[in-house]
Symmetry: D2
Subunit: 401 residues, 4 copies
């Protein structure tokens, strides 16, 4: 693909995505990037929304497309963005999610302790920069937030970044939750820069409100859907159980060479090349093999996720009583003939948190025609008000019935 | 069409609309109903949103379609709705907007004093009931709110009625303001009845929030758009000026027989047959003829609306200073060589009001799984809160430049 | 609007249309152009497809949008198009339909003998060129086909022009006949120029086939729909009858000054300023007034079109027998008590013709990778074959029942 | 899920899919059915169309939805379909694709010789019928074509079946090839039954033509896209090579227990339970492991498919010269240092065939208003003509560069 100059990709969301620079084509062809094809964007959401099987690769191509639109919109308003900056910003957004491991967020901090996906993305980007002879310097500076034109970083990671504009749009498209649709097109056309900061023009106020409300809806209705939550907790439990068994001497035998290494690995130093060999397929294959494992807890969890016998989940505003959890543990313990301690894998509680908008933290700023700037929560007659700024905490209980 | 049993109509919004009863087909064929083809749903919104040229007829067919869906959804949940009630509710929604005069809301209370469109719809429905030998009795009872199953009336006129579900959906579709899209399909599937009242199930909470936010956006961004407002004020001024001139002895000569009668009429008694002869075409034709009227004020207004030289409009949170208005009046007065009093037609102020959600008044009720009922503004972590309940008042100034 | 540089218009079909040159904004603001708001794109198709009420103005804005896309696509492939040529081509397409009279094609050659809409568009464009001090010279040359870069004219009027790409897309959108959808986006991306002629790249073959089949479907299913045909024939008959009555001494009294002049006018010289005062509203108002005309034929026709008591229409492959027509004439003659001659207005036959693709005439050319050029009907395994090239003739009978 | 009565599933294509019978819910919950989540509907099409990652499960739910619509349409026209037949037809369509192995068609007849997916679907359905105590008898009879109401079988497998209506619609949706869109909604509304055969009403002619042309486009543009073809041939070669190596004594060690068994298995008797343990994940995991296999041919193929270094593919109307193939074999043989025989895995030719419409075989019949029946290729002025009935054969060459 290296010698091509231009490639047009069909996308059901935006119609066509145009890749218009040879370096972009080379990066996309790289095995590190191609790996994103094998990582679901929404982990197990497809167990509830069967259409939600799109990949990280597809999302990052989409975010790249919106980046192009955003840069064009800003240029047409007279903000200077050089060809090099444009290429840098496009590379940075293409690569922003490289650090996601299998099943994206679901296993973050489980498979690899103390590493979030942004750290890993950075490591991978540095590795690629070496391979490409330093051509990714500007992209790296923008990604890290070191580049002087701060607004370019904010387009990648900020309240109005093209990352979340794409994932909200794409996730609502593929789930079929049409209410999650945001007016990304209008917001992008209303983007502006003031004091080096990305913000939106006054007439975008209602679109921004709508964007925040759509995000709120997607969180509670999709991302934190109780069945999805239950499936993701099963996956976490599977990895935890496997690690425990390995520590007590079991050989992992997931059937995937690279996953076996990760499960046993203790080096603490992450090798980006190794990391980029791991994807959803290694995990699912392991889980399928472990369905017939002699450890009853592991087998039960693996069977559950493959055959969609998922944790039952209840969600409420207050903590669950310890008695309730104990009861569920006893029941499943008796049913499977496992120890009290082991039954903790199959019935437990936890909490989850989501904030609609936190003005101290998020800062979506509106530039008024008179040159003044206000936070979206401070405009006249704001929909997004103080009381929405505190995070909403909910409690869940998961148990195998 | 009378002998047909069934008709399928293409609709870009819902795909197909099926008319499945001979009486419905007869009503649709009636000249009173066909007149709705000649009334724009959104008056002059097309001056800003060129796609917004859809008609009252199209809207009422769409609302009829949603009524069918809503009734089916309720029936599938075990609520009894007889064939007669179904037909009644469908007729009532088909006819709910019959009382709209030319340019819908824009001229309400201007062409006809002291009559709103609901009153007139009722008069027309009663007239049709006579013609159809009493077959519209149930429809009439439902429309007036006299029918024992109160929820049927609420489907026609209430916070969750299919009227507003269709107009928000359809208006956002034809304007291209995609952010106005509501999840009508999901809300309808979540409708339920409790204590004879229409409400929604708990899992519709986020969809309802989204619905209210979309409505809010449509109000401020579309319905009260300053250019649209300016055009509608011009239309009002044209009728007021014409009436004044007629009182001072002018012959109306709009070129439309029926409009001339309305402009001169003083009887105070509305004849539904006469009313149903009047539509947008009479007005536009009159305005075109008056473009060359010797009265400068009338000619100026008529030329403005036809050639899109519209009032300039400013909107702000506080009242405009009287000096400002005076200045505009002087300028236009001098320009046209008209009296100070006449210049008041071409420069003036006013106020407009919209409420996002008023819990005392609107009452969208949520039925929880435990059988409790709460207003949408009272659920945990409500987006729709107290401070949104007071109407937002804004002030405008319109002037011909 | 004159001082603005840039305007974004919401369009339900393409999302947003950007007007990006002051001259374009001035042309759009001109009363001649604003008149297109008052001409239905699809005449009476809305009597069958209630959504099809979009206007000539909306269509010409849409075609302008596609022109921008097409020029960008060609530029990105290295074909030189200067800023002046770009502006010229955009103006030419904006104005290409200015010569349409009321109800577009329905009255072509009826209200004005011996003038088609292209001739009139040219007259109006020349008038505007005067007003704008010669700024439309390039646009005129492109429109007339005099400009050396022939492919620019072909983008406005040719087999792959943006005019038909927009009207097929827009008409299928507003009618809700989703099968009429064409892949305009893909075709535009595949446009190329060879020997100064517009053609498409090899990989567009299936899209072009699809385009021709969609056009075929739209013709037979929508444009030549028998009910639509019936309504348009009624309109023609109304004008013919009115002219006949005027010749025999009647005063037209349509209620529209400008229409009255047209109906009486015999000068034979078309004044573009006069022409641009006439639109759908004049006609509908006249028809409404004539519903109570003492001439029974005229009153019957006018009542029919307003209240949707349309001609019954039958279509078949062979001519209808003269006896059949005579029978219908007798029946309606007796019913209304009119002469045999007059009854010819209310029952008659005719023929209609449509061609799927005529390779001698249409010439959609495919540029192959090896540099050869073939007509779409000559590629291997062509769907569009010889036997589709002869026009299909069908016969209709219209009668008032 | 067993005790539920009704479940609503979000679908981006149709909005909502309603499962309305407990037996359907139980079947969907069965591990055999859940396995379809792990089989891509379009194998490797996502390497070209990144959105095309939807699953067999999603497709069969979609086809089920259309079956419901089709049955309702036929019932509303007076054709008797009992509740039992309705349930049977719905079960049959839900299960029609159960027999697909990993990567659907790509490996048909490769992994399992002499078994097509329909045979296997039948075996699985019979197994399920046992488990469900005979509740699937009607479904089985309909699926096999033994049921007296023949048209029910034709809805599952025939020219107008809901299977292809869903897959064309869904595949064009997820690939973003919007031109593949068919008017499934209209075709379904036009379905009818005559002499126990499924056919369409006369007014569906243009929709059927469009449907066949869309299918033609999808074949040549998507299903037989040269890059997709290349990837699928690589997969076939991988399995063939693996089997060859196993025969010569290698242990498969795919890392998947079930795949290892299939690769070694020679029993010739298919166990449906075993079969339903195998899916895409087993294959991809195996391929990932084999990327570092010591056999150069296998490693090269596996690396190619994972890292998207795919076969180069050329397609033409005539056979490729043997010299050309030899050259490619020599080049890759030298490059990898492998034998001439082994190089045949990495460069080879073949042919592919597609027919637009074969009237002898396909028989889409049109029921005219006068009661006559014609094949779509025999109606007046047919688009779908004789010359399209012979299959189009094309030749391809695949080689590793």
């Amino acid at each position: 693909m290296g010698s091509q100059q231009r490639k047009i990709i069909n996308d059901p969301v935006y119609g066509f995505i145009t890749i218009d620079h040879p370096l972009l084509l080379e990066i996309i062809s790289h095995p590190f990037y191609q790996r994103l094809r094998r990582i679901h964007q929404m982990a197990f959401a497809h167990l509830v929304y069967p259409g939600a099987v799109h990949t990280r690769l597809h999302h990052s191509l989409g975010a790249y497309h919106l980046m192009g639109n955003a840069l064009t919109a800003l240029q047409s308003k007279g903000f200077e963005i050089t060809a090099g900056e444009e290429l840098g910003a496009k590379i940075a957004i293409l690569l922003h999610d490289m650090g996601h491991g299998p099943f994206s967020h679901a296993l973050e901090n489980v498979l690899l302790k103390n590493m979030n996906h942004e750290n890993i993305s950075l490591l991978i980007m540095e590795k690629l920069n070496e391979e490409f002879g330093g051509q990714l310097e500007t992209a790296l500076a923008i990604f890290k937030g070191d580049y002087p034109k701060r607004f370019l970083h904010q387009l990648i990671s900020g309240q109005l970044d093209v990352d979340r504009m794409d994932y909200l749009t794409r996730d609502s498209f593929f789930t079929g939750v049409s209410e999650g649709v945001i007016g990304y097109d209008r917001i992008i056309k209303m983007l502006t820069v003031f004091n080096n900061d990305l913000m939106v023009e006054e007439k975008a106020i209602y679109s921004i409100e709508k964007f925040l409300v759509s995000r709120r809806l997607m969180y509670w209705q999709v991302y934190l859907h109780k069945t999805v939550l239950g499936a993701e907790k099963m996956l976490v439990r599977i990895i935890e159980r496997t690690k425990e068994l390995i520590e007590s001497g079991m050989r992992p035998e997931s059937g995937s060479h690279v996953l076996d290494e990760f499960l046993c690995g203790n080096s603490g130093i992450l090798d980006p090349v190794e990391f980029c060999r791991l994807d959803d397929y290694d995990l699912v294959n392991g889980i399928k093999n472990w369905m017939s494992h002699k450890d009853k807890v592991l087998a039960c969890l693996c069977d559950g996720i493959i055959n969609r016998h998922l944790f039952k989940v209840k969600i409420q505003a207050d903590p669950f009583s310890p008695h309730m959890v104990e009861d569920f543990r006893k029941k499943i313990g008796n049913k499977l003939g496992i120890s009290k301690k082991d039954s903790e894998y199959l019935a437990f509680t936890g909490e989850m948190v989501s904030t609609t908008y936190n003005p101290y933290d998020e800062r979506i700023q509106i530039l008024f025609k008179d040159g003044s700037v206000k936070d979206i929560s401070e405009v006249d007659n704001a929909l997004i008000h103080q009381t929405l700024s505190s995070p909403v905490k909910k409690f869940y209980i998961c148990y195998m019935a």
